[in-house]
Assembly symmetry: C2
Amino acid sequence: MKIIIVDDDILVSTSLKTIIEANEGFEVLAVANSGEDAIKLYHEHQPDILLMDIRMEKMNGLQAAEEIVKTFSHAKVLFLTTFADDEYIIKALKIGAKGYILKQHYNCIIPALNAVYSGQVVFGEEIMNKLPSVMSNQVNKKNYQDFGIIDKEFQIISFVSKGLSNKEIAKELYLSEGTVRNYISIILEKLELRDRTQLAIFYFNHLL
Amino acid sequence: MKIIIVDDDILVSTSLKTIIEANEGFEVLAVANSGEDAIKLYHEHQPDILLMDIRMEKMNGLQAAEEIVKTFSHAKVLFLTTFADDEYIIKALKIGAKGYILKQHYNCIIPALNAVYSGQVVFGEEIMNKLPSVMSNQVNKKNYQDFGIIDKEFQIISFVSKGLSNKEIAKELYLSEGTVRNYISIILEKLELRDRTQLAIFYFNHLL
DNA sequence: AGATTCATATGACAATTGTAATATTTTCTT
DNA sequence: AAGAAAATATTACAATTGTCATATGAATCT
């Protein structure tokens, strides 16, 4: 199994290399210490698995992975990181990462690599536990900004998506009911929707 | 690593046993051929991992797992099944299964067992690909049945939750608009909601 | 100061929605 | 076939919603 390790902390990447190469059948083709490096080395070596940290200076692991997957759609990226950060998890899932595990469980690395190599997708247990809440709570504001939704509008959207009526939203935001209506009217137009129900649905579909 | 295998097809379970025991460090403590059996054997042996089929006569794997997890909350259940059935996946996730992989990839079993043993959660790639759609489309009907929602009503709920107007739903279901309105009125009362937007929200919150 | 933009508001209107009471039709039961 | 239960429909009404055109006041710019 040919692996490339990416981590901007040389201490980490070398000890990873040691751990991995202590096992039969594992070969570390290269060690990168930045996202850019990772991309370059991936093109050169085309490893079976890319074992990558997320938080790195300049280009982070997620960006690098995204770039790589664009070219090599079958690339297997296993993220190895310190924090189970919601945003990272979401992004990793979106990119189609084959795994997301925490560094602290170093004894998990070999089994995870094996599992990924054999075509599975692996999550650390902490990550798995977070998945449901991540999926249902995290809102990606960027989706809205893309449609030209401004902050106030977004606020209103989130009230609509909690099931409040115009009157209730107005009270909540110290606006007149008419103003709220106007806002919603504009939001609907921007999002090309017809009514508040579709708006709430849109909201829920853009979770994650 | 101590394992119990559960499959009502003896051919499958014995060949699994052979495959697993061919590897160093794996021990198959027992083989069950039904859900009830699995529960009994789990209590007796308390294995590290329960490798279980889902579809079985009488008590299926999911029910058995649920029962077992109730008593042994740390139980590690790895489902090994033929189909990536949406409902099964959801249920497995809910129970807190540590993995869900497909039988056809028999070479994945050992890596998966290792990964689960080391505390990770493993999904076959097909399963992983299905996750997003499963999460956002599959509804657990039981939640609705609890509220006394009948099939027709449920149908309407799902249309509302797609953003259709009463008129559109009526056309879709070959009913009059008034009838649809009546249905919704009753649904709202049953669910103690106020309007279709809250209904859609309810729907999305009861996904999974 | 004058012009412009922005946030908020108003009023009038039509469409949609939710409710309730009652009717009609279909299906099931025996 | 008669009666009960269900599914579907109708009507009328009130409330909410979405749209639009326009107004007001405050903040910003030059």
